[in-house]
Subunit: 372 residues, 4 copies
């Protein structure tokens, strides 16, 4: 699936024109191979609300949303992400976005009538990391269901929270997104200067998107939030009742990074969905950035529960503007999985405390070393 | 630690005299090697309430308890369980207990003044499985703190829920406990007739004690209950904050057996403590017994999360009435760990569905097969 | 609705024959005037599960129940309770119940085939307080839904918890129920010896039924329990969304008596339903009885929120064995409402503290003083 | 306490200079008459974290805060609010704020060293409504406790959410705050054009401050948020345990306006504190404004529970820049309390449905009719 880089992406990440004022991540345009199965998952299991559907696509929104949709499921031959869409503050910010990416040397496509139902004037770009980003302001308002407790399920998803993208070169991606106006809330590094992941936000939460180091461009996951932790537990319980526990990939748990309570599950195509709740406010201009040591065993799970390897290695393809999968470029930097687990890696529970750390096979810790 | 059996235990498990009327599991008498460290764990971390303490022992109770204690931490040279104590319905039931175990051929010791502070007339026995059981009626009443919300911590333990004992021969142990008046709520078996574990109750919950197949007699764990699931999550979060995540052994999760939400943590001596909430009512005389297939991957964790090997293999010694560790007898029956994980075992998510099952190394499932 | 007593009830409350061994409150047989509207309430709003239904009756059970039903909604001309049904431990206990009430001089009716669908051999009685009690052992087992999280609603009712009955003479009622084997967990009295209410249990919770002083015999309410407090809040939220907030009579709140979190709502006929969670274990033989002072303003609501007058005055008729409403006998003892609110009553937040108490119109306290 | 207006405030509410870019409400400077009693309330009961304290003042912050404080308790002769402080985006925004209010004709005071500990360059103003507002950028960063679960109490307050101010002329106040860059998320009106209250935000929640129609300028309340609803219930339970239930003024409940779960309690001086959780995201530029009918009985409490009169009538004085109480101006518009409860008011549960509405004494509804 990976290849050597052919360097299609521009070298520069800054422009002379201003970046658009991005409000938030707004929706994901997702290609699925079996619309019926995906509907069972996103509507039947997860309870997202259908704004519109036909034989080709289903438009879904979360409980508290007032714009047309947060997720488009589109039938297609290859499971992939077709667009990561962000809302901008004004109609003029769509113009700014187009100009910005043009100056970056990126391919862009502007459609006054929008690319999907419910959205008006929008621009889609192949960004410097190879991801299909969309920027729009115009959108159809629909009923905000936030007080429709007659429709409230025990595992209700109330907001779209963020995207997570896999990219080989996290510092480069971070520089690009900071240029675009995102701010870093947290990151994972090691003492030798490698960055393994970064979390970036526009709205006042920990992230609107995150960069996970790995072979990319690929979609790592889309995340929806719930009101409380028990809502996430209910989703697990329901998946158990439906004998779908093998689609629970990781969690539930408490993240170190973001401090949120989380769960990762897999849709019928293997697209990863995070269910997420209770991160913190990041809206102040000098919100402190938190850097985690990659060897801190609580960074990814505050309780030290292991990250399954698939979580590091598996992700969804993304499409270019022609609808073809982007080539996946291999990560050259060190792998977080490799440096933290297995023969070449180590993690510690307490910095400087040998009793909780281990080095490859020599580990004594029941938790890190002795899982099947 | 294990040896070949010297068969100290009686062959018969039934008597001509009536069994005592047992009300519930009431307290555990637990030997710890460092009283200060254990206090930090049970009082500092878990917030159990001190009824009495001196240099030799600490008497602890849960939030809703009105008897003197649910747990005695006693300083000693070897970490072990000194007694599993059950309350009986009347003073005369202590006499009945003594007569019952004498007829079983078990060693008994009666103390009118009680074995520990706060408890009166009691009998201790070395039971047919080699466990030190105590039966008492007389007990000092103390303030029930159940409305002392000024003392209520975010991870408050509100009741003692159950014990869990490791024994090599589960059917024999079950027959003995049924003779003593316990009723089986759930068990784990395979299609060839092996029983791997059984849950038995006197009070109207899923269990007062459970038998886990393995080398024994050993204490598998003691379990306290919380009001809600978030209380358990808080205990995990607090252990993370205290950089004690390596003392979280397993969970949190939803049990298949018992349907309870659970967490297993380890005290400074390695004694295992379960935090547990929301099983179901079992008080009807014909409460249905639920039998789980040992190969059902949701039996131990409804979400299919793996059981760490230590959970199967590690347990605490128990003491005889002289205070010496009971010899540990090796289990001869099949091991639940062996038949479910690794090269010799298999588990499935959906019975009869190959896609979710695996056989040793050939497994494809990310969840069961590919953890580190 | 009330009348002067015609004294149909026996003077003696004790017998020479043994009382039946009652396990728990099991179901309520409830007459409703519009089956469709009642279905909307109990199934549509509250999510109880239908075991069976036809044009005449609907049989409902809670999430964790394994017997045929906890509630029968039966179409009839007058909204009333037709039977308070208790499960007994053995088939022979039905015989004992019949003999017991016969010796009390009560009218009884035995039906080997049962009075309602799903129940076998049973006896119904007009008890010394005028209530229709049923005792049965035989019952059809149905699927226990306790792990069917695919059916779990955000406000799921998981168990039948208790009944509450209005009777004029609480001490007499209490003596009768204690004779029948119930034990008192809590009561409300004043310093002059009047008893206003008592809570009595067989299963190991605070009550299977309670006696509320007032004009009776009448059904005060039936109570179902939820797993957690948020489930109750969701029921309120849903009633708000359905513009049914005027059917929320009282709460949510924390009871003083029982320590449970509660809500009272009204069905289409005005039958009162309590939603209830998290009282405490009462199974020990010497479980301490808690007596509350009627003037303690936290006895009915731990947060001091007012009890609405309707909660004291309104209740449902009960039927005799011919299906006719029992005559309602006026309470002669002091009224809890009268002695605690209004011109003749007083309540305090802190015993002996004048600042929080008030006497009729002279009150200064915003909270107590602005109650009706 | 009220007087006829002396019109000290400027007639114009707009300026030729730009408004400062306000980030969020940041802290309240509150005068209390007994520092020890206030400490017991805010630290002992509510668990706010002390950043600094001496004999004159206590600086408190919430669990997730990284700036020096969210609340200053300052010892003084008259209980009152000394400043409502807002953080601005840049140091230059403090200059802008000063210029803005000067052009409005308001009294201002600039202090480069700040008015309170932990805050640098700031300007305080007597705003057009008579409130003391402060604007600052410079602030000392302190440890963000957001993962210090070892300090996490069962009723933990995690953020400062908003202020609420009482002012006689809501439309005038709204125009002023909109000029200052606030946006209205919700309001309460009647069909004749009277505005009773408005909610305005800068950060992406329902409000940073709200205007409640009444005699003012006065502080209605300060609000802190919790993670989940059970945290709020715990605060009630704890106040019950401490026999402080008479300091619970209103709630807990679900707001109609804001959709948040809420509780109002009173500190030792009668300053009102709201505990609040789970409103919704308002960060989009076209976030829909919700207008509630003043006669909708679910607007203030979604469950229709009554608003106690004190909640409408009582509030705290505010100070001018000399530290003297601002004169309280009487509201001339209709009173929300008068038009909704009592002889002159009416409310409905369902618009257009007579069965749920009432007109003064003629009401039949148990719920609406038995309010004061």
């Amino acid at each position: 699936m990976t290849s050597s880089p052919k360097l299609p992406h521009p070298a520069t990440l800054t422009t002379s024109v201003p970046a658009p004022d991005i409000v938030r991540c707004a929706y994901l345009d997702l290609v699925v191979t079996d619309l019926k199965k995906s509907r069972d998952f996103y509507v039947g299991l997860l309870g997202l609300h259908v704004t519109y559907e036909d034989d080709e696509a289903i438009y879904l929104r979360s409980f508290e949303e007032f714009i047309h949709h947060n997720l488009v499921l589109r039938k297609g031959p290859i499971a992939a992400a077709a667009a990561f869409a962000f809302r901008v503050r004004t109609p003029e910010d769509v113009d700014k976005a187009e100009a910005y990416f043009k100056e970056l040397g990126c391919r862009t496509e502007r459609r006054k009538e929008g690319f999907v139902r419910g959205i008006g004037d929008a621009v889609r770009v192949e960004d410097p990391l190879g991801f299909p980003y969309e920027f729009f302001y115009e959108v159809e308002h629909v009923e905000r269901l936030h007080m429709r407790y007659d429709l409230y399920s025990a595992g209700e998803l109330v907001r779209l929270d963020h995207f997570n993208q896999v990219t080989p070169d996290v510092p480069r991606g971070r520089a690009y997104l900071e240029g675009l106006g995102f701010r870093v809330s947290e990151d994972i590094k090691d003492s030798e200067g490698t960055t393994y992941a970064a979390w970036l936000h526009r709205k006042e939460t920990v992230h609107d998107t995150a960069l996970t180091g790995g072979d990319g461009p690929r979609l790592h996951h889309i995340a929806f939030s719930t009101h409380e932790k028990h809502n996430i537990i209910q989703i697990c319980d329901k998946m158990g009742a439906l004998r779908m526990s093998d689609r629970i990939e990781r969690g539930p748990g408490r993240h170190g990074v973001s401090n949120a309570f989380y769960l990762y599950i897999l849709d019928p195509d293997g697209h990863r969905v995070e269910i997420y709740t209770q991160d913190y406010y990041t809206g102040d201009p000098d919100n402190p950035t938190i850097t985690w040591d990659v060897h801190d065993n609580q960074r990814r799970d505050w309780w030290g529960n292991p990250v399954v390897p698939s979580w590091y290695t598996e992700a969804s393809l993304v499409l270019d503007l022609d609808g073809n999968p982007q080539e996946v470029i291999k990560r050259e930097d060190k792998s977080e999985m490799a440096v933290t687990i297995g023969a070449d890696g180590f993690s510690y529970t307490r910095a400087g405390d040998d009793s909780g750390s281990y080095h490859g096979e020599a580990s004594k810790g029941f938790k890190l070393g002795s899982q099947v």
